[in-house]
Each structure stands twice: as C-alpha cells, then as structure tokens.
C-alpha cells in the first residue's frame, strides 16, 4: 500500500506488472507499418530493410517529382455581406435529440458547421454542454445517414413528390383505421401544433411519445401526488443536501446539462468561508454521479423501494424498517437526520421507473419541505413525456391489426422495447409504415416508406425544454442530402395549403414575439428568455398538446396555453392519498436477500443508444470504468473473488486480470434471455449486483462505429411491469464460458510512477471538516515538500540550474477545480472536435495508442468495496521548465514567451523522447496515419479499424477544423491550450487596439474548448500577467487549495489544480481501515 489514491488494482497492490509498466512510456518498438512487428522480428530483416528503403526512396521521388498542381481560388459570384471567407460565424441553434434540447452555438467555417459551443445566454445551461452535444456535429457528416427517400428497399431512390403521392394514396385507403404518430418526446411547441393539425385530418388518430429509457414512473407518480402528469423543475443550486436514489442526474438522468451547473454552484468553495452542499448517493452500480458523491451507500437494485420507504420513515421518525444491511441502515438514518436538519434546503431525486417508488420519494420531498424550494412546480421539465403503457397499448393494437398507419420519428422501439419481436411483428401488420429517422435503424428497416429527416443543424425548429424557456433552431448548412424536415412532410399530408414548416414556425413566433424585430432577435440569441418575454410568452406545460389549435397556420396560432395554473412560490398542491397503496405495493414485493441481480444503466456518451454510431463517443472513456468501445458486465471485487476466484489483494491475480486487454467472457441468463459479455471489476459495485450498459449491439446499418466493438444489446432484459418498464432484473445467473474478449481500457495507460519511486500526490483531497479546522494544511504540505529548494516563494528561481525567462506580455495559465469536476467528458469531446484529434479505433486503444489530448483520470481512494472517487482532468501542463523540451533532438518542442509548451509538427521526427520524459504522460504519438494526412490517401485501410478510416471520407473530413494542422504518421502531439483560439482572441484585441480581456467583468476574448464546453466551469483560463483576469483572481482567492501536480520536480506547470474537498467529517487518509466506521457498505 503506497498511495492514498490509486487508478488501477495493480497500482494499489504495487504488482510486478505495474512496476514494469512504470518503467516504460512505450512498450513496443517503432513499427515500420502499424502491423505490430518490429523490423528486426521480420523473417529476413536485411531484405525487408532494403525493401522499405527502396520503396520509400521511390515513393519520395514520385511524390516530389510531380509538378505542382494548379490550384484554383474561386470567389463567390455574389458575396453575402456577413460572410468573411476564412472567418467563422456563430449561429445560435438548438441541439435536439429525442427529448433532449440544449441551446448551442454552431461554429460555421466557410459554410460548414465544425464545432458546437454552449449558448451562454441560456438560462438553463448557462453555456454548458455534454459529451453528446459536443459530438453531435460529427453525426451531421456521418456516412451512414440516409440520403434520399425510398420505398421498401434502400436502393430505389424516389423523389419527394413521388413518395408523397404514394403515401397520399395509401393514407386515403386506410378505411377509417387509425393513424398513429410514434415519436420520442417532442417538446417543440410548433411541432406539437403541426402534429395536432395532421392528426385532425385523420379522425381517430393519435400521437404517442415513446422514450427508450422513460420517466413514466415519475410522470405517473406526480399525477398521483400532484395531479399533474409532468416533471417539475429541480433546483439543485438551492439544496444544501442532495440525496439521489440511483439517479445519475449529472450523467444521464433527465437533463444533466441543466443540473450540472446548479450542482456545481453548491460545490464551489469560498476559502474565506468554506461551505458546500452535501451529496449522498444510494445506488447499486458506481455511476458517474455516484463518483461525485460525498457519501455513497450500496443496496440491491430491487431494494430501491425499500430504501425509499425506510428513508421516508426515518425522515418522519417512525423507525427504519425493512433494511437488513447495517451500513445501509445507518446511512439512511444519517441521511434522514441531515434532511430534517435542512428542511426546505434539501432535495431527493430517484432514478427508479417504478411509480410507487416515486410516490414515496414525493412524500419524502414533501416531508423535507422541498416542494416550492428545491422543487419548482411553476415550471416543468419537458425532456421526457413518454408513458410506457401508451406504447404497450400500441404494440397490442398493432398486433391485433387495429392500426392503419404508423409514422415514426426518433423512436426506435424495435431496438429499445423489451419485447422487440412483438413490436416487429406488430409493425409488419400495419398497412402503412413511414419512418422519418435519419438512419436505417432497427425500426426503419421494417418500414415501407422512408423519408429521412434533416440533421438538427440543417433544420428549423424550436424547443421548450423547461416550460416558458424556449430555444430556437436555425439551419447552419444547406441540407447535405435529399432529406426533408419531417414537419414539412406532416404539413404536406395534412392538406395545409402550400405551407412549409419554416413559414409555420415564423408565423407562430411573429405572433408570440410581436413582430419582425423580436423574431430576428430571438433567432440571433437562440433563446426566448422567460424574463425578457414574460409579457408576451405565457407559460405552458408539457400537456398542452390537447389544446393546440387545429386551425390553419396563417390564422394566428394561439400561444401556448397554461393548464394546471401554478400556485405561488412554485409549490403544487400535494395529495398523499396514493402513498399508503404505494408503500404497501413496495413491501409486497419484498426485496430479495440472496442471488444476483442485474442493473441496466446508461453510459454518459452512448445514452440509450443514440451515441453508439458516433466514434467520438465510442472512444470517449467511460468516466468510471475508463473503458472505450463495447459494453461489458460490471462486477464487484467481492463477486470476482467468490465467483471467479480473482483475489484483487493478491498481486498475481491482479496482474492476470488487469494486464491483458483480453477479459473472460461471462454468460448472463435471466429466464430465457442470455447474453455473453466480458466483465470488468469495478470497486463500489454492490456485491450481489452486476451492471450492463444499454445502447450497444446496434445494427451495422448505423455505420462503421457500431461494427468495431459495438457490444451487445441488453434491452431484452428490461421488463414491462404492466405500467412501466423496469431496468432491474431481480434474478440472473452467471456462468463462465471459458472464452475471452478484449476490452480497450485506458485506465492503466498513464502512470506517474517511475522506477525511481512513486509519485503519490497527483491528486490532493481533504475533508471539509479538516479543511475548516486546518485551512492551511495543503499549503503547509507543499511548503514542507519544497523547503529544500527554497520553499514556495523562491522555488521557481532557486529550484533549478536553468535561467529564469521573462514573460513580458501575456502569460497563459489555467486553473482546474477538481471540486466541481463531475467527469462527464464534455471537455474531452470538445477537445477532439476543436483540435482534429484522431479516433484510433478499439484495437489501437488496446495498444495504448489513444490520442486524447485531455483525459479525465479517475482515482479511487480508501476501501475497495466502496471507495471514494475523484475525477482529475489531465492535459499538457505547459511547464515553464518542461522536461520534454530539453530532450528533443530537433527542438520540435520548445517554449514560447507566453508560457506555451509549443509543438511544431513539421519539425518532429518522432523520436518520442519527449513523451518518455513527460512526467504527466500527456503526449500522444501518431503511430499510424489516422486522419488521412499522408500524401497517399487511404493507405491504411487494411491496418486500422473501419471506424478510423471514416476520416478518409471527404464527407467526414468536412468536420475538421481548418485552423488546426491535421497531423500525420510519426508525429508527436499534445494539448496546445487551443493556441488557435488564443491567437484569434489576441488578434481581435489587437484589431480593436485594446488590452486582452480574459475574464475581467466576465468579458472574454477567448476561451479554450474545454473551458467553453464545461457545464460546471471547472476550467478557468486566461492571462496570468493581468491581475484582473479570471485566472489571476482564481489563484489569488484560492491559495489554500491550489497546487501543481508533482510540482516538486520543478516543472513549473502553468496549470494549477484546486484540491478536491469532500463534505465529510472523517479524515481521508492512507489505508482501508479508516472507512470502516463511516457507513460504507
């Protein structure tokens, strides 16, 4: 046991393999081609050498002797006024994916959207984004998108006119059979109007909203408790105590981009008066949100109802019953005490889809006074509106032949419904099936007519994610393919006289905003702010669709109408009538006490499956397991020991398990359903629970990313309980199969340790109580460490033999607040998107060749059964005394007068000395031509994964940022602090002849991509030489928590970290025994 914090089991046990790994940055010879074989291993090394030599000479001669090509420079015929070639324009629009809606800005360079930024005007997200929002721009250029409408078979392209005619004939011949429009949640007011207009044309028709992972349980519970089938607005920023029962509210639950900034508000520390919210998580499988928690308690998945009831009873001081686990029971009691002590300033959220559990949670929230304080019923959240039973009814109707036509947008039930076969059979019995989905997904494959919708970046539209807060959508590129906005199709078929959706939308908003100026402003801002438009926009709720007008759009469409008038203070009248029945129902289903349970969860990148075809998201490491591509079975260390005989306290077992990417495959059986997947051991998993992520195992039609490590589909394991879908499988059996399957983990790729010794203090963490008692503890620790080299004050000049260099103008610096980092990965994908970072594919990740410039390291500390988790974003530290710079034989990496550690790609000859010498392990080497930068296009098709080769497609390459060099084979690269943005920001200031603004009065000339993307403002970046800049203020105001990672090496990093503070009373220290007493189950 050495380190307080550990990343891998090998590190924890200091195994032989781990120590070996710490010796070398690179564990292989430089291959001549990416075939894993060094030259000397070849059969005839000399001949091979001559072959390579001859080939490269010939190739160079051919490449060089060609004449310079004649390049054309073709200007506009008529230049639009607002477009400056080579300069980006930003258009406000909205990311819409199923029910999710996030206000964004699309960066458009020369007609192509290339990057998504958060819209800082949004009162919901405040400019935050998520990994999926960031990655959505790549979906626009997905080669697997459907490119034209067709009937029955994909090969037969037809025109929109022809398909309209055929559909009109079919719809006219339905003989009165009802038409059903099946969509994922729609929160666009105008789309709801369009739908109402369409449905009015076909009497008996209906609109069903279907969410892959639904919140039906909550909607139904709220209807029972508050009389409103809606989800209220949560205000985590008002909460001092946040209790989550299995709700991954920062990662995948409801609206993480909205909750993250609220949550972060309570997690930021003011050093003068340290206080923070307390977050307690009850769960079965370690989620990303659970990793942020101050305290975590483990329970069986099926036990969640019992936990909720026990918590309610404890809050009401009627005794905690029905919980057998002592630690869990103590945790519930402690939580109840805290909740009662913070009445009106605490909130309980629950991820269960069981209405009974949610009714109990409503009762708890009533008891702790959350209603009206941390839960606001004045506005509702409209992200999820689907009711599972509506869809179950539809499946029944379809199979009974009662449905005439089925129109599908967004929803993909053939893949996501638990009984996929009955959906597929039902669809086959429907006379007319029409899909608007933009890819040939599992459901679309069964549809007769396919009229692909635009990507959201090509569309007009609006969204009402929170009632009364609107976000508008405008096209940022001319449609790439022969697609059509689906609202246009509906309007055409509803017989509206020559109205397109744009006109409809415009008319609607002109009416609401009262004129052209208002509309232009709204489109420019991308949002209609409730505060500014309170007089014109009436609040509405999610249930407005029934009242939407059926008039023609040229006659004024009525503004959204309020139903269920809000009462003052955001409270709603509570009706506890259903509580007794709910509690009874929960206790009737007494939780199991033996056997293994399966919990199906969503991953932050893949979601319910939306991200599966996006290579950026597939290669985004899971925040907790740090695995890329594929899904897998998560098991606890205890289960590994009892079931598989892997004792993680034994070094030999640890190495056997951890060193090789090949993992044992287990077979999971529940009833007649089985799945075979490899397993990963994750500390913090309940001993009798296994977890598997949904969203994998997609059809190959979705693109190359799903064929490379696409995982397996586990939606069949979900079950329909009669009212809702349950993601808990109470009884499963696990068997060994004897097979292995490789998993691409990045967790062990980077280690700070060296053969000379362990570098422990990469992560600094302290409990709030301790920090309050000894505010200068971290500072003193650092002072002591640096004492031999002049102490903190003189360390910079005295700790080195190298001369001191002035930074006369700008000096860049970054501060990373580990306290508010939630590990969501938005910054990682933003970095990929901004800097043209290559996706390398599963096989290459297995070989440690991942290219991410910014990674979020996950550290465990404490007890292996239920450890604390800390996320640490790690990027190039831009050391002022950089070890990498000294060892470069060609001076390809050197230091700028602004404090940047520069990398000149064209100078690099690929010795990799720099990466070897980098103590932070943030340098990345291009082992192959991942982005098609070489002069011979497509030269690695046989070598790299198909998903990687996508970057050789002209369509996909449209996403590349033209201001950043596309690196080629054999070149080192790393974080540049987004130097292209820095240069642009400086130039802006210079053109306006004024000093640079980096955060003074919240005015910014530039932000790095990670900083812009972060929903919780973890990153603060700017000019350290400017005393008023945000970064200077941040460092000035947080002296007690700031530190540099392994700073005693005198690397002088320009990135400082703020110590993670955990809101607990106990000391966080070395060894396991410390946590025994504090309720970790």
């Amino acid at each position: 046991m050495g380190n307080k914090h550990w990343q891998s089991f090998g590190e924890l046990n200091r195994t032989e393999a781990f120590n070996d790994a710490a010796k070398d940055e690179f564990r292989e010879d430089l291959p001549f081609v990416a075939d894993n074989k060094g030259l000397l291993e070849a059969v005839r090394p000399r001949r091979d050498f001559l072959k390579y030599l001859g080939f490269s000479t010939a190739a160079a001669a051919v490449a060089a002797s060609c004449e310079m090509p004649v390049k054309r420079v073709i200007p506009f015929a008529n230049k639009p006024e607002d477009i400056v070639p080579g300069t980006a324009n930003y258009y406000a629009t909205t990311y819409v994916q199923d029910g999710d809606a996030v206000s964004i800005l699309a960066k458009v360079r020369d007609g192509r959207p290339i990057k998504i930024e958060g819209n800082e005007l949004s009162p919901i997200t405040f400019g935050g984004t998520s990994a999926r929002v960031q990655a959505s721009v790549l979906d626009l250029y997905d080669t697997a998108r459907l490119r034209y409408p067709y009937i029955t078979r994909k090969q037969n392209e037809v025109t929109h006119e022809a398909i309209d005619r055929a559909i009109a004939v079919d719809l006219a011949n339905l003989g009165g059979a009802p038409v059903v429009l099946l969509t994922s949640t729609i929160n666009s007011p105008t789309t709801k109007g369009v739908i109402a207009q369409f449905l009015a044309k076909y009497p008996g028709s209906r609109h069903i909203q279907y969410d892959a992972v639904s919140h039906s349980g909550m909607l139904l519970a709220n209807k029972a408790s508050y009389g409103r089938q809606a989800i209220p607005t949560y205000r985590f920023d008002n909460a001092k105590v946040i209790v989550s029962l299995s709700a991954d509210f920062l990662g995948t639950w409801l609206s993480p981009v909205e909750f993250a900034p609220q949550y972060a508000k309570g997690r930021k520390i003011n050093e003068q008066n340290p206080a923070m919210s307390k977050h307690i998580q009850f769960e079965s499988v370690l989620s990303m949100t659970g990793g942020c928690a101050d305290e975590r308690y483990l329970h069986r998945p099926s036990e969640i109802g019992a936990v909720a009831v026990a918590l309610l009873n404890a809050v009401n001081s009627t005794g905690t019953t029905g919980i057998s686990d002592a630690k869990l029971k103590a945790g519930i009691e402690k939580t109840a005490t805290l909740l009662n002590a913070n009445k009106g300033a605490s909130v309980v959220v629950c991820g269960s889809n069981d209405p009974n559990v949610q009714i109990v949670v409503n009762a708890i929230n009533e008891a702790i006074g959350a209603n009206g304080k941390t839960i606001d019923w004045n506005t509702t959240l409209n992200y999820r509106q689907g009711i599972d039973s509506d869809f179950a009814q539809l499946v029944e109707d379809m199979n009974a032949g009662r449905i005439g036509a089925l129109l599908i947008h967004g929803a993909n039930p053939v893949y996501t419904w638990s009984d996929s076969k009955s959906v597929a059979d039902g669809i086959k019995k429907v006379k007319v099936t029409i899909s608007f989905n933009s890819k040939n997904d599992e459901t679309t494959q069964l549809c007769k007519y396919v009229i692909p919708d635009h990507h959201f970046l090509e569309s007009w539209g609006d969204a009402e994610p929170r009632s009364g807060s609107y976000s508008l959508m405008q096209p940022t590129i001319y449609p790439l393919f022969k697609t059509r906005q689906w609202q246009d199709s509906l309007l055409k078929w509803s017989g509206a006289p020559a109205t397109d959706y744009y006109t409809y939308l415009r008319q609607y908003w002109l009416g609401v905003l009262g004129g052209e100026d208002g509309w232009n402003k709204a489109i420019q801002d991308g949002i209609v702010h409730p505060a500014t438009s309170a007089t014109t926009v009436k609040t509405s709720t999610a249930t407005q669709d029934s009242t939407m007008a059926k008039s023609t759009p040229n006659v004024a469409i009525p503004a959204p109408v309020t139903t269920g008038a809000p009462t003052s203070g955001g409270t709603a009248a509570y009706n506890g009538g259903g509580l007794a029945a709910a509690t009874a129902a929960i206790s009737a289903n007494a939780p199991k006490t033996s056997g293994t349970e399966l919990y199906l969860y969503q991953k932050v990148g893949i979601g319910a499956g939306q991200g599966a075809s996006n290579p950026w998201l597939q290669e985004l490491p899971d925040p907790v397991t740090r695995a890329t591509w594929d899904n897998y079975i998560i098991i606890s260390p205890a289960m590994a020991k009892s079931l598989l005989g892997i004792d993680l306290e034994k070094a030999g077992d640890t190495d056997d398990y951890e060193v090789h990417p090949e993992k044992q495959v287990l077979k999971v059986t529940a009833g007649n359903k089985t799945v075979e997947l490899p397993f990963l051991i994750v500390p913090g998993t309940h001993p009798n629970t296994i977890g598997i992520a949904v969203g994998y195992g997609r059809t190959p039609e979705l693109g190359k990313a799903v064929t490379v490590g696409g995982g397996k589909n586990v939606y069949p394991f979900t079950s329909y309980t009669g009212s809702t879908i349950s993601h808990i499988v109470p009884a499963v059996t696990i068997e060994k199969t004897g097979n292995t399957y490789p998993l691409a983990l990045v967790q062990t790729h980077n280690t700070y340790d060296t053969p000379q010794g362990n570098r422990t203090e990469v992560v600094k963490e302290i409990s709030l109580a301790e920090f309050k008692a000894k505010p200068n503890e971290i500072l003193e620790e650092r002072e002591e460490e640096l004492e031999p080299f002049g102490g903190l004050e003189h360390f910079e000049k005295q700790g080195t033999i190298f001369p001191y260099h002035e930074k006369p103008g700008v000096k860049w610096g970054m501060s990373v607040d580990m306290n508010s980092c939630i590990g969501c990965g938005a910054c990682v994908v933003a970095c990929i998107s901004e800097n043209n970072i290559a996706i390398v594919g599963k096989e290459e990740v297995q070989r440690f060749h991942d290219m991410h410039w910014l990674r979020i390291d996950r550290y465990y500390s404490g007890n292996m059964d239920n450890p604390f988790v800390t996320y640490q974003p790690m990027l190039c530290q831009h050391c002022d005394n950089a070890p990498c710079e000294n060892v470069c034989p060609v001076d390809a990496t050197n230091h700028s007068s602004e404090g940047l550690n520069q990398m000149a790609y064209n100078r690099c000859i690929g010795t990799r000395y720099c990466a070897n010498n980098c103590p932070y392990k943030v340098r990345r080497f291009n082992w192959a031509d991942y982005t098609g930068a070489d002069s011979f296009p497509d030269n690695q098709r046989q070598v790299l994964d198909a998903a990687v080769m996508n970057m050789n497609e002209p369509l996909t390459r449209m996403v590349l940022n033209p201001d950043v060099t596309v690196r080629s084979h054999g070149v080192m690269e790393k974080c540049s602090f987004c130097v292209q943005r820095l240069q642009e920001g400086k130039l802006k200031a210079k053109r306006e002849s004024r000093p640079l603004k980096t955060g003074e009065n919240n005015e910014w000339d530039l932000k790095t991509a990670c900083q812009q993307a972060c929903p919780t403002n973890v990153f603060v970046f700017g000019n350290v030489n400017d005393p008023n800049s945000a970064i200077s203020q941040m460092r000035k105001n947080n002296p007690q928590r700031s530190y540099g990672v392994i700073e005693f090496l005198h690397t002088l990093p320009n990135v400082n970290y703020l110590t993670r503070i955990r809101n607990i009373d106990e000391h966080i220290g070395v060894g396991e025994e410390h946590h025994e007493g504090e309720g970790a189950a």
Binding site: V73, F76, A77, N78, K79, G86, P808, Q983, K986, R991
Partner: protein, 418 residues
C-alpha cells in the same frame, strides 16, 4: 553569411522603395480624388452615367446648389429623400436603387470630393501612375568571375601535378628506382577519388537546393481566366487595394473579389481605352475591351440592360500565393494591426499587368521580416500590457524602434504553426 547579407540588402532596397510609394500615396489620400476613388467611383463617374448619375455639374442641379443639402443627402440619403421630390425622381429614374449612405465622410471630405469633381475637365485625362521606380538588380554579380578563376586555377594545379609526377618519374628513372609502369591520370585512384568528391558535392548542392525549393514557386505567373491588370486598376486608376480585397483588414484571407464587386464599376465601364498596354509575361498584348467582355460572360450581363446578379458565375482564378497547410497566415494581423503595406509581400502589384509571385514565401523570408519589422508598440492599445517594456521606454533604456516582432515572440513556432 554572404547569402544573408545579400538578402538583407535586397529587402532593404524593397523596404525603401515601398516607403517612397507609401509617402506618395499618403499625400494623395488627403485630396478629393482618392476619396472619390475610394467611396464614389464604384457607382459614379464624373462625366459618365454609371449606376448613379454623372457628377459633373452636380452643384448646379436640383437642391444641390446648397452644399448643406448635399451633406445631408450623402450622410443619410434615405432620410433626405423622404422630404425631397427631386431625389425621389432620381430614385425612380435609376431603377429604384438607393444610394449608399456615407455617414463616415466628414463635411470637409465631401467638400474635397466636390472640389475634385469641379476640377475634372470634360474629358478625363488619365493620371499617370505614381511610383514608377524600378527595382535595381543586385549589381556586381561576381559568380562568373569566380567560376572562371576557379576553373583556371584548377587547370593550372592539374597541369602542375602532371608536371610534378612527370618530373618525379624522370628523377626515378634517372636513379634507376622503381620501374613501375606509369599510370595515366584517368586511372590514378587519387584523381578518380578527387573527381568523385567534386561531382558528389556539386550534385549534392543542386539536389539539396532543389529539395529546399520544392513546393516553392517564386515568380509563378500563371495565365488567368481573364487578363486582369493590376497596373490599370491599382496603378493608373489608383483604386484602393481594399476596395476589391475587402476582407484584408478583418479576416484571415484578403479575399478575391466576387463578380458583383467587379460589376460595381464594370456595369458602366465596358471598354478599355487606357494608356497602358496590356502585355503579359510572354510579351503578348491583350485587348482590354475583350477581357471586359469575358467578365460580362461570367456575370451574365449584357451592356445597357439591367444586371441580374443571380445569373453570375464565379470566376475560377488560378491561385498564385500558396502557403503549406501547416502554416497559419492572417492578413488582418499584418495589414490592420501591423500596418504592413501590401507591396511588402506582393511586390509592386500596382505595376504588374499580370500578377506573379513576388516573394518566395519561404519560412526564412517570413522570419527575416519578423526580425526586422517594428511592432506598432505605442499606437496599438493591445501592447499596453507589456508593462516592463513601457517602463523601459520611459527610462530610456529601451527604444521603441528596437521592439520588433521577434521581441514580442513573433518568431516562436506556434505563432504560425498550429
């Protein structure tokens, strides 16, 4: 070193030349003629109707006898027209095209323009181009002389060596030593080695310099789809560079003008009668009027009819100035911020009938300029953050002229490569 100093001299002479050019230009910029060229000439001529009316005698027509009315009109034509029947008539006569407002022109500027209009005689005589100085080639090239000398010395030494070996052989013969058959020099290994080394060095030199030159294309002068003469436009007619290359001060690219920019003037100018001969690099003469007809074909325009801009097709110009993909260059940084003249990099563009690549655009060329060029240190507010330097300037320990681009980090890798 020799190479460097010559390059320095060369750049020096170029800089002096442009300085002369700038001075001439600035003097002109004060008067109405250049204001007219910059602001009015796209729609008006003095003696000919274009998009707007001919301006000769403007002050004798309608309300314009009062200069105040003219000021008001030019500052805000739409506002003026609301109450003025004369301009309402003009609006109709000119096909409902509104005059562009020039709120930025001061009354003094407008007066200067009007004075210029008055000063133009009924038939305009072209103003000869400003700077016509030629660029003196670096004189006293001694390469040939050195070459001949080297050759002569080489022959002499060869002869001497031969003589020496003959004498040695004679001496040996005389003393009766040796008796080996004499080797002819072409079989003498020393000679062969010597020649091989010389050949290797020469071929090496050419290979290396050729390799360095790969991808560079100085003096590149391609044939363009339209024989467009910068000499006629920027030289003789004194049209500001920024009129056509309008993004130079705001964007990364200077922007090749779109067809509608050409047509601003060429809707009226359909023939070329200027004094300059349109001669291309091969000495062939072109007919300007025919070239304007080519433009009309791209624009879809028939002279005398209203132009429908939507019919225009872009002109596929051949790109001359190419930077490698890994180089970032921004025009606004150099022109707007650095106040660098266009000619510093593009040569005497105002004297080029057919544009060629003036500089080799090599990294050495960029870096040398960054080493020698002063930053607008006091004039640009951005540099106020360099407090140390300002302090030193106050103390007199640092001279503003010493603050070159290099001094503020302008030769660091990631200023251009990222």
């Amino acid at each position: 070193m020799n190479h460097h100093s010559r390059l320095g001299k060369h750049i020096g002479s170029v800089v002096i030349l442009f300085f002369l050019f700038i001075v001439g230009f600035k003097a002109n910029a004060q008067n109405g003629q250049s204001l007219f060229a910059a602001n009015c000439a796209s729609c008006h001529q003095v003696n000919k109707r274009l998009v707007g009316p001919a301006l000769a005698g403007v002050e004798e027509r309608g309300p314009w006898t009062d200069r105040k009315a003219l000021h008001a009109w030019i500052h805000n034509p739409a506002g003026f027209m609301k109450t003025d029947p004369y301009t309402q008539g003009l609006f109709k006569e000119y096909g409902g095209v509104m005059m562009t407002a020039f709120p930025g022109l001061s009354e003094k500027d407008i007066d200067a323009i009007l004075d210029y209009i008055k000063s133009v005689p009924a038939a305009t005589a072209p103003v000869p181009g400003a700077a016509t100085a030629t660029n003196p080639e670096a004189s006293g090239d001694n390469t040939l002389l050195f070459g001949i000398l080297t050759l002569i010395l080489a022959i002499v030494s060869f002869v001497l060596l031969q003589v020496n070996s003959n004498l040695k052989r004679l001496a040996d013969d005389k003393e009766g030593v040796g008796g080996t058959e004499p080797l002819p020099f072409w079989r003498n290994k020393a000679y062969i080695a010597f020649v091989a080394v010389i050949l290797f060095l020469i071929s090496g030199y050419f290979t290396v310099s050729g390799a360095i030159g790969l991808g560079r294309s100085q003096k590149y002068e391609p044939v363009q789809p339209i024989f467009y003469s910068h000499k006629v436009h920027a030289g003789t007619n004194q049209i500001s560079c920024l009129y056509c290359h309008g993004n130079t001060e705001v964007g990364k690219q200077a922007n090749i003008p779109s067809v509608n920019i050409c047509m601003n003037c060429h809707m009226g100018i359909n023939e070329y009668k200027g004094p300059d001969k349109l001669v291309d690099g091969d000495g062939k003469e072109h007919d300007g009027t025919a070239e304007i007809q080519k433009l009309y074909q791209y624009a879809g325009f028939e002279y005398g009819k209203l132009w429908d801009a939507s019919k225009a097709q872009p002109i596929p110009w051949v790109r001359i100035h190419n930077l490698p993909d890994h180089v970032y260059f921004n025009h606004s940084q150099h022109v707007k911020v650095g106040k660098v003249q266009c000619q510093s990099c593009h040569g005497e563009i105002q004297n080029m009938n057919e544009v060629y690549q003036f500089a080799d655009l090599s990294m050495g060329w960029c870096i040398n300029c960054h080493r020698n060029t002063q930053v607008q240190f006091k004039d640009n507010g951005f540099y106020s953050i360099y407090e140390q330097y300002h302090e030193k300037i106050k103390n007199g320990t640092l001279d503003t002229t010493n603050i070159t681009v290099e001094k503020i980090g302008g030769t660091e890798c990631q200023k251009c490569h990222y």
